[in-house]
């Protein structure tokens, strides 16, 4: 797991997953989110660049993480969705529920801009 503090903050904790994101990987991912539930204004960023498949158990683990983060005033965002994963997100309309960014840098920039806006 990588942690990046931007200047000015917020702190974003980053996880990069790879391969099949399914029922075998989901428990480990849930453990990671539970251990890293962000404080207010902090974010978890899940990079799916190397993920070529996602099943419903894995989607549920993302939804679970997203809800826990939002309860604490933070969020769980996604970036780098590859085509097979993008299709699943469109079919299930999970794209309505998550903040989805093209790249990590894009996600960082948006988070920083939002953070500054809230400070003002």
């Amino acid at each position: 797991m990588n942690t990046k503090a931007l200047s000015p903050e917020p702190i974003i904790k980053l996880i990069e997953l790879s391969g099949r994101f399914d029922a075998h990987v989901a428990p480990e991912f849930i453990k990671w989110t539970d251990e890293n539930i962000p404080a207010s204004q902090e974010y978890l960023l899940v990079d799916l660049k190397k993920v070529n498949f996602i099943d419903s158990t894995a989607l549920a683990s993302l939804v679970r993480g997203m809800k826990h983060c939002r309860e604490k005033g933070g969020d769980l965002a996604l970036c780098n969705l590859q085509q097979p994963v993008q299709i699943i997100f469109e079919l299930t309309r999970m794209d309505q529920a998550f903040r989805i960014y093209t790249t990590q840098e894009d996600a960082f920039e948006k988070a920083r801009a939002e953070y500054i806006e809230k400070l003002l």
């Binding site: 029922a23 849930i30 498949f53 099943d55 419903s56 158990t57 989607l59 549920a60 683990s61 939804v63 679970r64 809800k67 299709i87 469109e90 079919l91 299930t92 309309r93 999970m94 309505q96 529920a97």
Partner: protein, 418 residues
Amino acid sequence: MSSSSELDLLAEALSEAQDQLLAISALAQSTAQQFDIEQLLPILAEHAKQILNAEAVFIVVNIDNQPPLLVDFPTNYFDPKEIVLLTNTVHETVDAFQRICLVNNTPVYIIEQKDNDNGCVKLGFQVDTPETALSPTLNLAQTITDQVKIQVENSLLHRALLAQAKFQAEMEAARQMQASLLPKSIPSSAETGLDITVHFQPASKVGGDFYDLKSHLHRGAAFAVGDISGKGMPAALLMSMTLNALRNSFRFIQNPTPEKVLTQVNQNMYDDFTRAGGFATVFVGSYNAHKGELSYGNAGHSPVVFCPANGNARFLEADGTALGVLSESLSKSQILDISPGDILVVGTDGFTEAENPAREMFGYSKLLNLIEELREGSADEIKDGIVRTINQFASGYPQSDDQTLLVIKVIEGKELWK
């Protein structure tokens, strides 16, 4: 004289050896039908005492990380604490050994039989002095210990089989209960104006897929197909709750529309889904035969294919995400004019994500062509054609997710009711 006394001794030794063989045979026989380890160990200890001609015997069995099982014969001859302490120390330091120790000031010979899988068995028997433990007795004691180990393993195997049988029986009961929640029969085409059929195949005994069907009072039908995230028992529990919430919404909402029903179910189930860490994709449809109208709502569900009698098949995509994801459902009611010959296929992702041995997925793109090819058939023929094609694609690769398929073909359109 001397040769006669030698003969006597030899005869005595032979007779003793025969007695021991018989005793070992009796040990094996008496325990053959006894699989309960708690009842088995005292019998073994008693036989061991007889065979070894010892004043007292104890047996300690360590299985995995459970507390050790301990018996002695005669009962309470040894202090159990002292035995456990002694054998535990030994267990940690030595893999296989034979040695003499003092237990309650009695010299005891201990033989251990250990393997990496199922823990170990230790047999201790009283000896008068260390010297009396001669090698024939030790060989015998080793044989008995081996026998005890075999019996313990048999007993553990039996216990595991019983537990498995009980689990299977419970799963079977759960399967029957889940099956009983689903519609018992399919409404007839006379009631609905539709030719309807369903294929329902959970990947294991219970699953998270569900469907529901009900004919309208005045021609037509309401139906739903859903898929709970995850698999197995957790999904099955959420499935029964969601199906119940869905039925209640249909029953109690005035003029229920797909949108109202999905909104209501999401509202009622959102907290449950959050606690359980799951969600449900649901497709809800209602066919009004008088208007020739299908109104539907799709909360994150796929695949749903509409194939008009004279047109290209297309997906009816979700406009709102799955139930339980957001606190408010965003799915709206959509209206579709339909006519005789039109086909609606509502599946679950167990079909599109079916894999072949090369772990390629069936996918979505092939489904549209397939349904167009099958469009002339009845609902049953279309269903069978889809299931057959997916099974051929999988070529025996095991089904990993629940598969549900609802196929509806319109028989009577509004023209008949004007």
